[in-house]
């Protein structure tokens, strides 16, 4: 049985998870008002239209805020402290994730630093993370 914290996709969210497997950040956009939003949903939270679609987002983002968790979930496979972050996507939505592929220190993790989407695979799932980028395109 999978660990209870391993994300379980639903039919409505499957395109996002398929995107993770393909290495693409796939989120929703409203065809009616143009709002990009996350998490996936069948209705636009901005204008209530159900004329919504998934699209491949740029993956560009910035670091809004974070903590450095001292004892991470064992699933991550390391006892070293690691970040839990609020990430602001270039398209607008805010989401929870982690910044990886850099030192997990206050010095290395500067607020508003440019990030880009990256994907980390575990036995049962591939999840969205972010890593430092030179600058957003």
């Amino acid at each position: 049985m999978p660990h209870p914290l391993v994300p379980v996709p639903t039919p409505e969210t499957q395109p996002f998870w398929d995107g993770c497997n393909e290495g693409v950040l796939r989120i929703n956009r409203c065809r009616s008002c143009g709002d990009a939003y996350f998490p996936p949903s069948l209705i636009c939270p901005e204008c209530s239209s159900t004329d919504v679609e998934f699209f491949d987002a740029s993956g560009d983002a910035t670091l809004y805020s974070y903590t450095i968790q001292q004892k991470p979930l064992a699933l991550w496979g390391s006892d070293s402290p690691r970040s839990v972050a609020l990430i602001k996507l270039a398209e607008g939505p805010m989401l929870t994730s982690s910044v990886i592929n850099c030192e997990q220190t206050p010095e290395a993790l500067q607020l508003d630093m440019p990030l880009r989407a990256t994907f980390t695979s575990f036995d049962e799932i591939t999840v969205l993370c972010f890593e430092p980028s030179e600058g957003n395109s």
Binding site: T10, Q70, V84, M94
Partner: protein, 385 residues
């Protein structure tokens, strides 16, 4: 609009023991508290016709207590569920659906790992389980606290100033016999406590306790016949925002609109203003939540509350006594603290608190649920206008 003071609290009690209660499950703590509240009100189950409990199947718990209600609610929005339930009960009584409501809570957060209670925010396939909890393991100290660093960065609040909140609340707890932590502490001690999720240290996190609590609310007409002085419900508010167990869903984490919405509703319904508030409770699951509460409720401007607390205004002797039981950081915190938060407000209005503030005519209680998924604001008064 429900007139301020249309209903009143006539029974209020905690479980007989709180803190570490290894011989009771969540169910036992709830029933113990319910029995204490009925005794406090001088009534029995036969006098109660409305019921809500939140963390248990509502029909199961009412039957165990011998209550056969004609109105029931079981709104669950996390830690402030029982505050939402009080708001709903006030409306139900005003509408004539019932006359006397018992609101029951129990949580063995420490000893039995919540044995006997229901409610799971991380259900398989749920939004939080898919998009938040994997990153933190669902650890509140690493997730609920995410806005803290941004706040410190935007408003220049040092770790030392942030730590004062924990020191102030311990100053209150020193004089509270039922508080878990009563030894005075210091900024240095708070900052030297083990790091949990930088910048959050252990002494900035709530306790993990066992406790139950219950309140009984009825119409103002009936309230006069009860033994204890009525604690009138002057105004209530409630709002939802983040949706899942992360502040990511809050539209502006430094100016969360749901706090303002809830607070405005309560102030408007009560017909009072900030300067009328003699005593304040702001649910402190972590050290930062009173900061955001003070700002969102409008007691100070955005960006000012961290320094306001650091200057001692909410500590003993300060102009705005807040979290006088010691709060979730020093008194007790089970997992869902809203009931314990309300009970301190009620004790203060009754004049029976351990740290009794002089002349509390009007008290405000603000709580959170599901991290920042929900909040509720209640204003209580010693008299009806």
């Amino acid at each position: 609009m429900i007139p301020p003071g249309a209903t009143a609290i006539v029974g209020a009690a905690e479980s007989t023991e709180i803190g570490k209660v290894p011989d009771l499950s969540s169910v036992g703590l709830a029933i113990d508290a319910a029995a204490n509240a009925m005794q406090d009100a001088g009534i029995t189950a036969a006098d109660i016709d409305g019921f809500t409990c939140g963390y248990f199947p509502v029909a199961d718990m009412s039957r165990q207590l011998g209550i056969f209600p004609s109105w029931a609610d079981n709104t669950v929005v996390g830690g402030c569920s029982w505050m939402f339930q009080l708001r709903n009960a006030v409306a139900a009584i005003h509408a004539g659906y019932c006359t006397t409501v018992l609101i029951v809570y129990g949580e063995s957060g420490r000893s039995t790992r919540r044995l006997g209670q229901s409610g799971d925010a991380g259900q398989k396939g749920g939004t939080g389980q898919q998009f938040d909890m994997f990153y933190s393991g669902g650890q509140a100290a690493a997730t609920f606290t995410l806005p803290v660093l941004r706040y410190q960065h935007e408003y220049g609040l040092s770790d030392e100033d942030l730590a004062v909140g924990a020191v102030s609340q311990r100053e209150w707890a020193v004089d509270v016999p039922r508080a878990t932590l009563r030894e005075p502490t210091s900024v240095e001690e708070v900052l030297d406590s083990p790091m949990v999720a930088w910048p959050i240290r252990r002494a900035m996190c709530c306790l993990v306790s066992d406790a139950g609590g219950a309140i009984i609310v009825t119409s103002a007409d009936r309230a006069r016949d009860y033994p204890k002085p009525p604690v009138y419900v002057l105004g209530t508010g409630g709002a939802l925002e983040a949706g899942v167990m992360s502040p990511a869903g809050v539209r502006d984490p430094l100016r969360p609109e749901f706090i303002r919405t809830s607070g405005n509703a309560a102030f408007s319904a009560a017909g009072v203003s900030h300067s009328d508030i003699d005593h304040l409770m702001v649910y402190d699951a972590f050290i930062h939540t009173p900061i955001f509460g003070l700002e969102g409720l409008g007691f100070v401007d955005y960006g000012e509350a961290g320094h306001f607390i650091a200057e001692g205004h909410t500590a003993p002797g300060g102009k705005l006594p807040m979290n006088t039981s010691g709060g979730g950081l020093s008194y007790a915190h089970t997992g869902a603290y809203g009931m314990l938060c309300m009970l301190e407000s009620i004790r203060q209005v009754r004049g029976e608190a351990a740290n009794q503030v002089a002349d509390v005519d009007i008290a405000l209680c603000h709580g959170w649920g599901g991290y920042w998924s929900a909040c509720s604001t209640l204003i209580f008064g010693a008299s009806a206008p």
